[in-house]
């Protein structure tokens, strides 16, 4: 099995999709000759031409709006938004058009459009280059919102997103782009975990950490550190943020009796609130403590020199774990 970086795994995922289906097109700012600012589309235009891998004008609303038109015509656009903070000009097209077309046409029209968004911080970037905006999209019915966290998932979730019939907001955690891992490119679909499923990345018995994206690694490290305190912590990578895999989440919390949700996005009205509510409703009699949340502070993303303090880290996760056990 080849060992690839997460960014290369996405690249080969798109390559496979372009090979398998002539209707797939990749589009976005600088995705062609440059290969994208994170090089995720590197070499694709060279091999598939500028009709399949399209350098678009600098216009996010235009990227998503024309992708909708292309999809209505039978194409499968895979759009790249250059940075999370630049998706807002496309927000209207995403939430009021892309998400709603199927319901508006009583199920007659599907829009198989994938919108890839590098997400989150931890790379010391300037303003608008580190935002976690998943809650905006998860709040909108009609979109699938997923987030990968390792190369294997990146590759397969992207292939599944592209070949599916629904619009997908596909998040790629920037701080993980350079992480390496094995990727089973030739696995059969049935041997690969569906993108709608959450995954137990570390089994444990005492508490469940529910997380995704760039925080999966932080939670794994926190779980390792907690071993010293005699705590056996389970870590779940949610993968699908909307819809949530309620089954995997509740099965875990029903076993452990404690849950802490960890995400990079500000805490208020973040996904943690939704997950906390879901767990409370479904696992109420098993819970030993309220579901706790660890997120970024409710502040605009600060300048780079402050991001380490702003974002959740192992200490903040362990502090929440302690608070849960102290209940």
């Amino acid at each position: 099995m080849p060992v690839l970086t997460l960014s290369k795994a996405l690249n080969t995922g798109m390559r496979r999709a372009l090979e398998d289906d002539p209707k797939v097109v990749v589009m976005g700012e600088d995705v062609g000759g440059l290969g994208g600012v994170f090089r995720v589309t590197d070499g694709l235009q060279k091999d598939f031409g500028s009709q399949r891998v399209i350098d678009t004008p600098l216009a996010e609303s235009g990227i998503v709006g024309t992708a909708i038109g292309l999809a209505l015509r039978g194409y499968r656009p895979v759009c790249e938004i250059q940075f999370d903070g630049f998706v807002y000009p496309a927000f209207n097209q995403i939430v009021s058009q892309l998400a709603k077309m199927r319901a508006r046409t009583a199920g007659r029209l599907s829009l198989p459009v994938v919108i890839r968004i590098p997400v989150g911080g931890g790379i010391g970037a300037v303003e608008h280059h580190s935002e976690s905006n998943e809650a905006y999209f998860a709040h909108t019915a009609g979109l699938r919102v997923v987030c990968c966290s390792d190369p294997q998932d990146a590759h397969w979730m992207l292939r599944e997103a592209i070949s599916g019939s629904d619009p997908v907001i596909f998040y790629e955690p920037k701080r993980r782009y350079w992480t390496k891992g094995e990727v089973a490119e030739d696995a059969t679909d049935s041997s690969v975990l569906a993108m709608t499923k959450a995954r137990v990345v570390r089994p444990g018995t005492d508490l469940t950490l529910l997380t995704y994206g760039g925080m999966v690694q932080v939670c794994l490290q926190a779980a390792e550190a907690a071993v010293e305190d005699g705590r056996d912590i389970e870590v779940i990578d949610l993968r699908s943020l909307s819809p949530l895999d309620a089954e995997t989440i509740t099965a875990s919390v029903n076993r452990t009796g404690r849950a802490v949700v960890v995400h990079e996005a500000p805490t208020f009205a973040g996904l943690g609130a939704e997950i906390g509510s879901l767990v409370t409703e479904r696992c109420f009699y098993r819970l030993q403590a309220p579901v706790l949340r660890v997120g970024a502070f409710d502040l605009p993303y600060p300048p780079a020199k402050l991001e380490e303090q702003f974002l959740p880290d192992i200490d903040r996760v362990l502090d929440a774990v302690d608070r849960s056990f102290a209940w």
């Binding site: 600012v37 600098l58 235009g62 000009p89 502070f297 020199k305």
Partner: protein
């Protein structure tokens, strides 16, 4: 339309009937000095980024004439809405190296008081500032003030919806705003041919803007055209548009690899049109630069370099704690609780 040019790359002057300019030694030296200082700041900032002292730097290399010519063509009382690369223009307004660098060091999101310099903070979301400029100009119009608003943007940004909404709105409202596009050939890796079919100044005219095209590497032409157009706008003739054809000889940013999309020969071609070089030739040919002037300027540049290196490392570090007071004018209760929790956690690590 042919770009207006007053000074060619060989350093020869070509008076233009529509854009008269009294080309004095003082004016020439002043514009040249401003460009030299901007270039020096750019070089130092690049070096600082390479040494890890700045997180990112967006070079202005090659665009000095467009910025210095235009900012000196409006009055100090006119409000400016820049994009994120207007360091040369900012310096002309007196914005200090410390105020410019702090954002790129990652210590703050902005470094200066926009009212003090009548120069708004940088905008990283492309084209957003064009609408702010338009709205500000609508305010100027309502107030009946003798001002205009100058706003900067790039060729790539002109593709955004916000840019086109601003052109249309400003024209419809007759707002006193001067849109200044630095067409520097590339939007990261994307050339203008991918952004547009109609030349920008033509599109602007289609929106009803009074549109002009100028050689953006000729500081005298940019200065003359901006001054002339600004007078028109100030007299109530409605918004205007200037497209300056220039070239950014550096990559998009210090994270960019321009070798992936453009050739050395293209860059070399533009080097022969360096905006500073032709001013040097002019000064020399006219006998307007003597050894004293040049060595004084060299010294000034050197001092600026030293100053930039010194202040960069001394820029004050931000405190997360302060951020809690900067979100809303009145801090909400929940945020106060959150801050207290953060303080407790930090305090618990002290031992």
């Amino acid at each position: 339309m042919k770009p207006v040019q007053l000074l060619d790359p060989a350093g020869d002057l070509h008076p233009h009937p529509d854009w008269p300019l009294d080309i004095t030694p003082e004016l020439t030296r002043d514009l040249y000095r401003k460009m030299r200082l901007a270039r020096r700041l750019d070089e130092e900032a690049l070096a600082l980024q390479r040494q890890g002292e700045l997180g990112l730097w967006l070079q202005v290399l090659g665009q000095e004439a467009s910025q210095v010519g235009s900012i000196t063509g409006v009055r100090a009382s006119d409000h400016v809405f820049p994009s994120y690369r207007e360091h040369a223009a900012a310096m002309c307004r007196g914005i200090t190296p410390a105020e410019l660098l702090i954002q790129w060091r990652g210590n703050a999101h902005s470094g200066w008081d926009p009212e003090r310099y009548r120069f708004h903070i940088y905008t990283l979301v492309l084209a957003a500032q064009l609408l702010h400029a338009t709205g500000y100009a609508m305010g100027v119009q309502r107030d009946g003030a003798d001002e205009l608003v100058l706003t900067y943007f790039g060729d790539g940004s002109s593709s955004e919806g916000d840019a086109n909404e601003a052109f249309n709105w400003a024209a419809a409202a007759g707002a006193p705003v001067l849109f200044f596009c630095q067409n520097n050939g590339w939007a990261i890796s994307t050339p203008p041919q991918i952004q547009m079919r109609a030349p920008l100044h033509q599109r602007a005219a289609g929106f009803g803007l009074d549109a002009h095209l100028v050689d953006g590497n000729d500081v005298l032409a940019v200065h003359a055209v901006t001054r002339g157009v600004a007078d028109q706008v100030r007299s109530g003739s409605g918004p205007a548009f200037i497209e300056a054809i220039t070239y950014r000889m550096a990559g998009h940013s210090t994270s960019d690899d321009p070798g992936r999309y453009r050739t050395d020969s293209e860059v070399d071609g533009w080097r022969t049109r360096d905006p500073l070089a032709r001013m040097e030739l002019l000064l020399e040919k006219q006998g307007w630069s003597d050894a004293a002037y040049l060595s004084e300027l060299d010294l000034e540049c050197k001092e600026l370099g030293t100053e930039v290196r010194r202040i960069c490392k001394e820029l004050p570090l931000p405190e997360l704690d302060e951020r809690f007071d900067q979100v809303l004018a009145e801090r909400p209760e929940l945020l106060t609780e959150q801050r207290a929790g953060y303080r407790d956690l930090v305090a618990s690590f002290v031992d």
